[in-house]
C-alpha cells in the first residue's frame, strides 16, 4: 500500500529530494576548499577559537575593511609594536626601537632585519609608508602626519604638523601590508584579498567554509621557533549561546565571550584544565549626563547623583562581580600606572553616601516636596530617562539598579531601552537625558580625557558628533591636553595626567561607574602558555593587538 503510494508523483518527489540533497552537498563541496586542512594525528593540533558575532564567514582578509575576517589583523598582518594594557608594556615587534624628535614633531622607527612576508619578499620601510598612506586614504585619521620618509630599507621617519605624542601608538599599531601587492590595486578598499600575504605567524588560508576556516603556518615567519601551533581554526556561531556551548563541551580552546557564572558553567566541568581571567583593563563604563540640560550643568547635581549610586551593587549584581567600582579619577585599570593615588585618597563623590547626596541636592536647590520627590529649582519634578541598548543585558541591569538607587534620594528615573542604534543616534545628536556609555581605551589616557572634558569634539545639540556625547568642555582641561601631546618627557606627561585627574575629580563631567572587564577563558587541555593574572604578558582577547603575543607564546600541552 505504501509502495503504491510511493509510486508515481510522490516517488518522483522523493527521488528529487534525494538527488537534490546529493547535488547540493556536491554544490557546497565544489567550493574552492584549498588543501587538506585536516587535523592529522601526527601533526600539531589546531588552536580552535569560536566567533559569535558573524554567523558565517566571508572570505575577506582586507585589513582596511571594517568587516575583515577574524585574525586578519592579529595573525596574518602585524604592526611595528604591540601595547599590552594588562601590564602597560610596549613590546617591539616589527620595529626594534624608535625615537621621538626633541620637539615631539617627528618619530623614527627602526625596522627589524630579516622579516619576510609569507611570499618570501623582505619587509622594508616602503611597506610601512604605503600602509600608513592607505589607512589615511581609505579610513581617514593620521591628519597630523606631514610627511613619511624612507631614508633606507629599515628606517621610517614620520614628521608631524604639530606635536602629538599618542602618535607613537597609533602609528606603531598600524598593520603593515606588502607594498609590492597593495600598490598594484586600483581600488584597494574594495579588494577582498582572498589569499592574503602578511608577516604574521599564521597566514595560509585553508579549507575556507561558511562555518569555519583554518590558517596554516607562515612558511617565512621571522620567529619560526615561536610557531608551535599546527594552525588556527576559527568557528562561526550566530550568538553567544552557541559559542558558549561549544566552549563548555570542550570543542574550542580559547573563548572571549561573556559567560554568566563562568565558574560553575565552564570551569567546574574540568577544573584541572579550564581557567578564566577577566582583568578589568577594558574601557571604563560611565553614566553620562547631558550637560546641555540645565539640571546636569550643575556640578553639585552631578556629584550628588554619583553619590546616590551603589557601585558595589552595580558591580556585584549587574556585572556578576566581574567589574571593579570606579574611583574619582575615572580611570580603568588599563591606566594603573597613570593613576594618581592622591586623588584617589581624597575621593568623596564615588562612594555611596545617601545623606551626602541629599545634602548636596538641597544645597543646589533641588528640594524634596511633600511626597518625598525631588523638584528642580523651577518647581518641576526632577525626573529623567536613563538610556541603554536593549541587547546589553548586563548594562540594562546596571541601569535598573541605578534607577532603584536614585529612589532613595527622591528622584524618579526611568530606564529607556530601545536597540543600540537608536540609543547611539540619540547620543550623537545630544537628544538624550542620561545614558550608559562606553569610553575610549587607547594606550594613554589622552583620548579618554579628551572625550570627557575637551572642547575638540563638542558639537551643539542637533549636530552629529561621535565623541563627547555629553557635550562638556573645560578650558583648563584643554590646556592640559594640549600640553600632554606636545611633550614626550615621561615625567612631565605623568604630572600633566595627575593634573587632569585632579581637574576631573573637581568637575565630575560624567558619573564613572566601573572599569570594564576584558573577557577571556581557555583550557590547557591542548595548549599551554596562556597569559594569566600572575603572568600578564597579554590579555585573553583574541581580537586585540595583543593576540599575536599569545599566538607566539602557546605551545602544545605534553
Amino acid at each position: 500500500m505504501i509502495i503504491k503510494y510511493l509510486r508515481r508523483a510522490h516517488l518522483a518527489v522523493a527521488a528529487t529530494a534525494v538527488a537534490g540533497t546529493l547535488a547540493l552537498s556536491g554544490c557546497v563541496a565544489s567550493n574552492p576548499g584549498g588543501t587538506e586542512g585536516g587535523n592529522g594525528s601526527t601533526s600539531a593540533a589546531f588552536l580552535t577559537i569560536p566567533r559569535e558575532d558573524m554567523g558565517t564567514f566571508s572570505r575577506n582578509f582586507n585589513p582596511f575593511s571594517p568587516n575583515a575576517a577574524p585574525m586578519t589583523g592579529q595573525s596574518i598582518y602585524e604592526s611595528m609594536l604591540v601595547y599590552n594594557p594588562a601590564n602597560g608594556d610596549t613590546v617591539p615587534w616589527l620595529a626594534t626601537d624608535w625615537s621621538t624628535g626633541k620637539d615631539g614633531k617627528s618619530l623614527t622607527f627602526n625596522l627589524r632585519d630579516n622579516v619576510k612576508f609569507s611570499d618570501g619578499t623582505p619587509l622594508t620601510s616602503k611597506d610601512v609608508k604605503l600602509s600608513v598612506e592607505l589607512q589615511k586614504k581609505l579610513l581617514g585619521g593620521f591628519d597630523y602626519v606631514k610627511s613619511i620618509k624612507t631614508p633606507d630599507d629599515s628606517t621610517v621617519e614620520f614628521t608631524f604638523k604639530k606635536a602629538f605624542t599618542p602618535a607613537l601608538y597609533e602609528l606603531g599599531q598600524q598593520v603593515i601590508v606588502p607594498a609590492h601587492i597593495w600598490s598594484k590595486f586600483k581600488k584597494p578598499g574594495n579588494e577582498e584579498n582572498p589569499k592574503p600575504v602578511g608577516t604574521g605567524p599564521y597566514t595560509e588560508v585553508a579549507n575556507f567554509q561558511a562555518q569555519s576556516f583554518e590558517l596554516g603556518k607562515n612558511p617565512n615567519y621571522w620567529q619560526a621557533d615561536k610557531q608551535k601551533l599546527g594552525g588556527i581554526r576559527m568557528l562561526a556561531f550566530a550568538g553567544n549561546d552557541g559559542a558558549n556551548l561549544a566552549a563548555i563541551s570542550g570543542d574550542v580552546d580559547w573563548t572571549q565571550t561573556y559567560m554568566p557564572d563562568i565558574q560553575t558553567t565552564y570551569v567546574d566541568k574540568d577544573p584541572e584544565h579550564r581557567h578564566f581571567w577577566f582583568p578589568t583593563t577594558g574601557a571604563e563604563i560611565n553614566w553620562q549626563l547631558n550637560t546641555t540640560k540645565k539640571d546636569f550643568s550643575d556640578v553639585r547635581v552631578r556629584k550628588a547623583l554619583s553619590m546616590a549610586v551603589d557601585r558595589d551593587q552595580v558591580t556585584k549584581v549587574g556585572m556578576s562581580g566581574y567589574a571593579k567600582p570606579a574611583d574619582c579619577t575615572g580611570l580603568s585599570n588599563n591606566y594603573d600606572k597613570w593613576r594618581d593615588t592622591a586623588v584617589v585618597e581624597k575621593c568623596d563623590w564615588t562612594k555611596r553616601d545617601v545623606e551626602g547626596a541629599k545634602k548636596l541636592l538641597d544645597e543646589a536647590g533641588y528640594k524634596e516636596n511633600a511626597q518625598g520627590q525631588r523638584t528642580t529649582p523651577a518647581g518641576k519634578p526632577f525626573t529623567f530617562d536613563i538610556s541603554v541598548g536593549s541587547s546589553s543585558t548586563d548594562w540594562l541591569s546596571v541601569a535598573n539598579i541605578i534607577a532603584q538607587n536614585l529612589q532613595d534620594v527622591g528622584i524618579k528615573a526611568t530606564v529607556d531601552s530601545p536597540d543600540w542604534a537608536s540609543v547611539t543616534a540619540g547620543y550623537e545628536t545630544g537628544e538624550f537625558d542620561t545614558g550608559i556609555v562606553w569610553t575610549a581605551n587607547a594606550p594613554t589616557p589622552y583620548q579618554y580625557y579628551l572625550n570627557l572634558m575637551g572642547s575638540q569634539n563638542v558639537k551643539p545639540v542637533g549636530k552629529q558628533t561621535f565623541d563627547n556625547y555629553h557635550r562638556f568642555s573645560d578650558k583648563k582641561a584643554d590646556e592640559l591636553l594640549n600640553k600632554f601631546v606636545s611633550t614626550s618627557d615621561e615625567g612631565e606627561q605623568k604630572q600633566i595626567v595627575n593634573d587632569l585627574q585632579a581637574r576631573y575629580s573637581e568637575l565630575a563631567p560624567v558619573v564613572p561607574l566601573f572599569a570594564g572587564p576584558e573577557w577571556g577563558a581557555y583550557t590547557t587541555e591542548n595548549f599551554v602558555g596562556w597569559p594569566t593574572e600572575e603572568n600578564p604578558y597579554a590579555t585573553l582577547s583574541n581580537r586585540a593587538p595583543t593576540t599575536v603575543l599569545v599566538l607566539t607564546s602557546l605551545e602544545p600541552a605534553n
Binding site: 547540493l24 587538506e36 581617514g140 561558511a210 562555518q211
Partner: protein, 325 residues
C-alpha cells in the same frame, strides 16, 4: 498556452512591483548604515573617518531617481553591488556562499514534513474517529505551538548534550573537507538530524490537519461511494482517488513554502550554529545594509514567484478543471 502566457505576464508585473518596493522600503528606515555599524561595534572614530568610510562604501547619499534606474539596470545584469556589513564582499558572493545550506536544510525539512504530514492526514481521515485521528492532530498541533527556539533548545539538550546521539552544531564536522564522497554526505546528513527534526516537529501539525480536513470533505463525495460499491479495495480508493483529489490544496501550500525557504531559518541557525542566510538577513536589516537587504529580498521574491509559477503549472497537470479550452 494563452493561460500560461497570461500567468507569466502577471508574474512579471508582480516581480517589477516587488523590486520597486525592495528598493524603497529599506531607504525609508531612519539612520544610515555607517553609524549603525559603528554603534554596534562601539568603535571610536574621528568624524572625518566616518566620512571616509561613507565614501569608501558608497553611501554618501545622492538623488534617488537616478539611483533607482541604476539599480534596475544592475538587477538585469545580476550585479547587486557590495555588501556594507560584509564590505567589500559582493552581495552575490555573500548570498551564494550561504544559500546552499539554507536550501538543503529547508528542502529536507519541508519534504519530510510534507510527506509525513500528508500521510498521517490521509490515514487519520480514512479512519475517522479511530485511534490515529483522535490522538495525532491534537498532539501534533500541541507540539507545534511551542515556541520554536524552546523546542530547538530542548531537542539540543536532550538529544545532543544528554544522550549524545546527534551532532550539536554546524553543517558538517569541523576539519572535514567538503567533497562529493560518502563520508562527507553521511556527515552532512548526521548534522541535519537535529535541525531538520525540530523544524519538522513544528510544522507537522499544520500539514496533517490540512490534509485531513480536505480528505474528510473528499471522502463524502459520490464517486468514493461509487468506487466502494464497485468493489475496489479500500486502500486503492484511499490513495488513488480520495488522496489524489484532496492533495491539491497541499500542493499550493507546498509551493508557497518552497519559496519562503530561501528566507532562511533564523532561529535554527542561532540554536544549532547552522550556516545560512537567516542570521545574515537579520544582521543586514539591523545594520541597514541596503545592498545585502535588496539582494536577499530579491532572492526571496524571485523564489516565491518562481515556486508559485511552478505550482500553477503542476496544478494544471493535476486538476483538469483548471485547464481551459
Amino acid at each position: 498556452m494563452s493561460f500560461l502566457l497570461r500567468r507569466l505576464g502577471f508574474y512579471l508585473l508582480a516581480f517589477w512591483a516587488s523590486i520597486t518596493l525592495n528598493f524603497l522600503l529599506p531607504r525609508l528606515m531612519p539612520g544610515d548604515p555607517v553609524t549603525r555599524m559603528l554603534s554596534r561595534s562601539q568603535q571610536r572614530l574621528e568624524p572625518q573617518q566616518v566620512e571616509a568610510l561613507r565614501t569608501l562604501m558608497g553611501v554618501d547619499g545622492g538623488p534617488i531617481i537616478p539611483e533607482y534606474f541604476a539599480y534596475l539596470g544592475r538587477i538585469l545584469t545580476g550585479d547587486f553591488g557590495m555588501s556594507i556589513s560584509r564590505f567589500p564582499t559582493p552581495v552575490s558572493e555573500v548570498i551564494a556562499s550561504q544559500l546552499p545550506w539554507t536550501l538543503l536544510l529547508g528542502l529536507t525539512s519541508l519534504i519530510i514534513a510534507v510527506i509525513l504530514g500528508n500521510l498521517l492526514g490521509i490515514l487519520a481521515a480514512w479512519r475517522r474517529g479511530g485511534f490515529l485521528d483522535s490522538i495525532a492532530p491534537p498532539l501534533l498541533v500541541f507540539i507545534g505551538s511551542f515556541p520554536y527556539f524552546w523546542l530547538a533548545m530542548g531537542a539540543l539538550y536532550i538529544f545532543g548534550i544528554n544522550m549524545g546521539v546527534a551532532p550539536m552544531r554546524h553543517a558538517f564536522s569541523v576539519g572535514l573537507v567538503p567533497g562529493f564522497n560518502l563520508v562527507f554526505i553521511l556527515d552532512v546528513a548526521a548534522h541535519l538530524i537535529l535541525p531538520a527534526l525540530t523544524i519538522v516537529l513544528v510544522s507537522l501539525g499544520g500539514w496533517m490537519l490540512g490534509m485531513r480536513n480536505t480528505m474528510i470533505a473528499t471522502n463524502s463525495e459520490d464517486y468514493i461511494l461509487m468506487a466502494e460499491a464497485k468493489g475496489l479495495r479500500p486502500h486503492r480508493i484511499m490513495l488513488n482517488y480520495a488522496a489524489r483529489n484532496a492533495m491539491l490544496p497541499s500542493v499550493t501550500s507546498m509551493g508557497m513554502s518552497i519559496g519562503f525557504i530561501v528566507g532562511g531559518a533564523l532561529l535554527t541557525e542561532v540554536v544549532f550554529a547552522y550556516p545560512g542566510v537567516g542570521y545574515q538577513l537579520l544582521g543586514a536589516v539591523q545594520g541597514l545594509d541596503y545592498p545585502l537587504m535588496q539582494g536577499m529580498f530579491l532572492t526571496i521574491t524571485a523564489a516565491v514567484l518562481i515556486a508559485n509559477f511552478l505550482v500553477d503549472l503542476v496544478y494544471v497537470r493535476l486538476d483538469p478543471r483548471v485547464r481551459k479550452g
